[in-house]
């Protein structure tokens, strides 16, 4: 048992580290990207159709690559950013690049839920585009955004299991090394249980928060 914990504990920390940092940057990049996708539409508050088209195109391309392939494909870019191509930190870059377009689409879908009448009301009160984004669009869909973030975290957790490929470590890597290559079933099972618990925890926390802030 203690041998299991000794194995699981550092892997778990690696996973949490990868997921946490990736989620942070994914939100940082994906939220504005998703908002820009909505507001630059030709019928929205800052119509810039060409920008909208380009962004949409790039996002679609990125999203059509399987994570494993994306991770290898962007190795030169990863080296440029973090100085190395292996290790936990190196795994974070592809995680962010894979999750950001996904999250941007999630944000886009959420923000589009805002009733246009409410946006018009804000316009009629003389709100600037920035004010509309910060004081209307985001607050109005916050519960849905929280659920979107929840899904994104779980997605990133899933991707992070593949990070073993670039020596990223983490729970997925552990399961492959011990459970698969060394036939240690107990490690495999413990990892799976841990991942299931993690996902459940994230989802139920997300649901709870969304429920509390939902005023509709």
């Amino acid at each position: 048992m203690s041998h299991l914990i000794e194995l699981l504990y550092p892997s778990m920390l690696e996973t949490l580290y990868m997921v946490f940092v990736s989620v942070f940057f994914t939100i940082l990049l994906g939220l504005p990207l998703g908002i820009i996708l909505v507001i630059t539409d030709k019928n929205h508050i800052v119509p810039i159709p060409w920008l909208n088209n380009i962004l949409s195109y790039i996002i679609n391309i990125t999203r059509s690559l399987p994570f494993l392939i994306l991770m290898i494909f962007i190795i030169p870019f990863t080296r440029l950013i973090v100085g190395t191509t292996i290790g936990t930190t190196a795994a974070i870059i592809p995680l962010i690049i894979a999750a950001t377009p996904f999250f941007a689409r999630v944000v886009e879908t959420s923000i589009k839920e805002v009733d246009w009448g409410v946006v018009e009301a804000s316009i009629s009160m003389g709100a600037t585009p920035i004010q509309i984004i910060l004081k209307v669009l985001i607050p109005e869909v916050l519960p849905s955004l929280v659920l979107g973030i929840t899904i994104t975290i779980i997605n990133i957790l899933g991707y992070s299991a593949m990070a073993g490929v670039v020596g990223g470590g983490g729970l997925g890597d552990l399961a492959i090394r011990y459970g698969y290559h060394r036939f240690q079933k107990d490690v495999m099972i413990a990892t799976v249980i841990l991942l299931v618990i993690l996902v459940q925890l994230i989802q139920s926390t997300g649901n709870k928060i969304a429920q509390i802030i939902n005023k509709k």
């Binding site: 009448g117 409410v118 009629s124 009160m125 003389g126 709100a127 209307v136 607050p139 109005e140």
Partner: protein, 330 residues
């Protein structure tokens, strides 16, 4: 106050065009409660939404307090909009904000200090009688309460003009009356100019001192509500006014007239005078009393069998005695 000059609005979608407004000219005075009525698709929403440029006018000018709204750039337009508030059919409240924060919103946009916001919002809550709902979210309010929040929110920036786009269409008749009397009250208390778009004659009758009738993107008639009601000039207007008194066709034989009795003519035995003076028989088909801005107008629809010359004289005689005549059938 508001001068609309040669306003046109054309919606162009790829290859086909919809002309929603054709060369509209309107003049709305300070303190007016100005009603614009028309059937669905007449262009009412297009017209009112051009006034604060939620829709871009295709052509024409809109002067408000000496400023041509059509010519303003983004920043100046935003400033001007603080002076032109709007309330909506679907209320358009912020579901994520409390009643208090909804009303405070226009003040937060201009970074008003909290102490002033508190004072102002509480004052507005009192005005719309929702003080006890300050910390409630819109989802917990009835339609009438939501619209009162909408009204309070629209007043927060101390506007000169209030635009109402079908503001009572989602409400039941009783709640509609309450909202209209609130608007009237605000109009009197704050001297606010109110523009009301509606397809309901009741709304116009209840509070508008002037009315314009819109048909197919054109104004077909315009004037003081009382005048338009007692002597409508256009067919469209007559239809709108008489929505509730469609006579069966078999009664529309001979000359059918509707006589409108206003304050000046009640108490005069006009009908019996006509009978004596012209030696005719009058058959009364329908009668009712309407209230226009709380002033009673008696309406009597009658049938007379006379020739055109006598009819003309009867009309002249009636109008001399302050009875307006509308010929329904001749």
């Amino acid at each position: 106050m508001i001068e609309i000059k040669n306003l046109s609005k054309i919606y162009s979608k790829s290859n086909h065009k919809v002309v929603a407004l054709k060369n509209i000219n309107l003049s709305i005075a300070k303190g007016d409660i100005y009603g614009i009525i028309g059937l669905s698709g007449a262009g009412k929403s297009s017209l009112i939404r051009c006034i604060n440029r939620l829709e871009e006018p295709t052509d024409g000018d809109i002067w408000i307090n000496g400023v041509n709204i059509v010519k303003l750039e983004n920043k100046e337009l935003r400033t001007a909009r603080k002076n032109i508030s709007m309330i909506f059919q679907n209320f358009n409240l912020f579901s994520s904000k409390t009643v208090f924060e909804n009303i405070a919103f226009p003040l937060r946009l201009i970074k008003t200090p909290n102490s002033i916001i508190k004072e102002k919002v509480n004052e507005l809550l009192k005005l719309v009688e929702l003080t006890d709902k300050a910390n409630v979210y819109p989802a917990q309010l009835s339609g009438g309460q939501k619209q009162r929040v909408g009204i309070a929110r629209s007043l927060a920036s101390d506007p000169d003009v209030l635009l109402c786009d079908e503001a009572t269409s989602a409400l039941d008749p009783k709640t509609t009356k309450q909202i209209l009397s609130l608007l009237k009250n605000i109009n009197e208390k704050l001297g606010l100019t109110i523009v009301i778009i509606t397809h309901e004659m009741e709304v116009i009758k209840e509070i508008c001192n002037r009315v314009a009738i819109l048909e197919d993107g054109c104004i077909v008639e315009e004037g003081p509500t009382l005048d338009v009601f007692t002597s409508p000039e256009s067919y469209v207007t007559r239809n709108l006014i008489n929505q509730d008194q469609l006579l069966p066709n078999e009664y529309l034989k001979g000359k059918v007239l509707t006589l409108s009795f206003t304050e000046k003519s009640v108490g005069e035995p006009i009908i019996s005078r006509i009978v004596k003076k012209f030696n005719v028989e009058i058959n009364i088909l329908y009668g009712k009393i309407e209230y226009i801005q709380h002033k009673p107008i008696g309406k009597l629809t009658v049938q007379i069998n006379v020739n055109d010359d006598v009819l003309k004289n009867i009309i002249l005689f009636s109008e001399k005695n302050h009875v307006q005549v509308e010929v329904l059938n001749q």
